[in-house]
Subunit: 140 residues, 2 copies
DNA sequence: GATGGTTTTGACAATCATTATCAATAACAC
DNA sequence: GTGTTATTGATAATGATTGTCAAAACCATC
């Protein structure tokens, strides 16, 4: 089975690149449609899945059980600081946590330890009280 | 609205208590049915949700986007070390990580930081090469 | 123990994300 | 250009979860 290059796959890759934070497959599909692309939903799912398994994107599960994707520049292992209001995402390195995870795992006899470490919060902008005239938009 | 005690809620609490690792709502419902309980699926979902929000159980998203629950003895905030093969779960404290998460969040202007920190690996038993005569059972 | 107000239950429909299906299409080697 | 074959996309199917609402259960009270 040889991989072929299609404009659809390119479109997904590009849309992901130009997206600030994490985005769901559904939202990405909507965004593409809004830009005039007739790409199909199933194709977006497939492309995102491919991107994720090839390491060009990384994915995480939102608290709602939705799969979220993001283009990641850093090829290596890293984590995220995500604003739960506007979706702003900061890639963070977690040297200490890596060490900690490895240590904890070893301590309990575990091997091949992988870990899920993501921090959700409110970014500086979204921290301003909602009582103001405007409430920040939800990214999507 | 006053909470009432029903045998259903007790059944869910107990089933969760006697379960080794994390379990999904569906699986817990099946288990209860298998034990002869006529409890409804919706009720199991409700009970688990209540248990989770009252802090008596904690929940996490499986890589498949399923919500998994587990009775937790430790009332406070803690994390998990989970065997991806047999489901064995160890509750761990992560003082360092708490501090780190708070620090990272503050450093980037984030507030109200919550974090998802779970370590998946192979426990000591499951680490033994699969080439042996027996392969360990998958917990369910 | 019976009664009544209110919560809870449960069968089922509805919703939502995701995956499978499969004929039509498009990419690539020649 | 031609043929082979991976890819697409509309839609159905799946599977987890939530909403609905009348009937049943809980519990304070008599």
């Amino acid at each position: 089975m040889m991989k072929r290059n299609t404009w659809q796959r390119e479109a997904v890759r590009e849309a992901l690149d130009t997206t600030e934070g994490f985005i769901s497959a559904q939202a990405l599909h909507s965004a593409l449609h809004a830009s005039g692309s007739p790409i199909g939903l199933a194709t977006v799912y497939r492309a995102l899945g491919d991107l994720a398994s090839s390491g060009e994107a990384d994915s995480l599960q939102s608290p709602d059980g939705e799969a979220l994707y993001r283009a990641c520049s850093t090829a290596g292992h890293h984590h995220h600081l995500i604003c739960r209001n506007c979706g702003l995402t900061v890639e963070i390195e977690a040297t200490e946590v890596e060490a900690w995870a490895k240590g904890i795992a070893a301590e309990h006899g575990f091997t091949e330890a992988a870990h899920v470490v993501d921090v959700f919060g409110l970014c500086a902008d979204c921290t301003r009280p909602a009582a103001t005239t405007e409430s920040p938009d939800r990214a999507g």
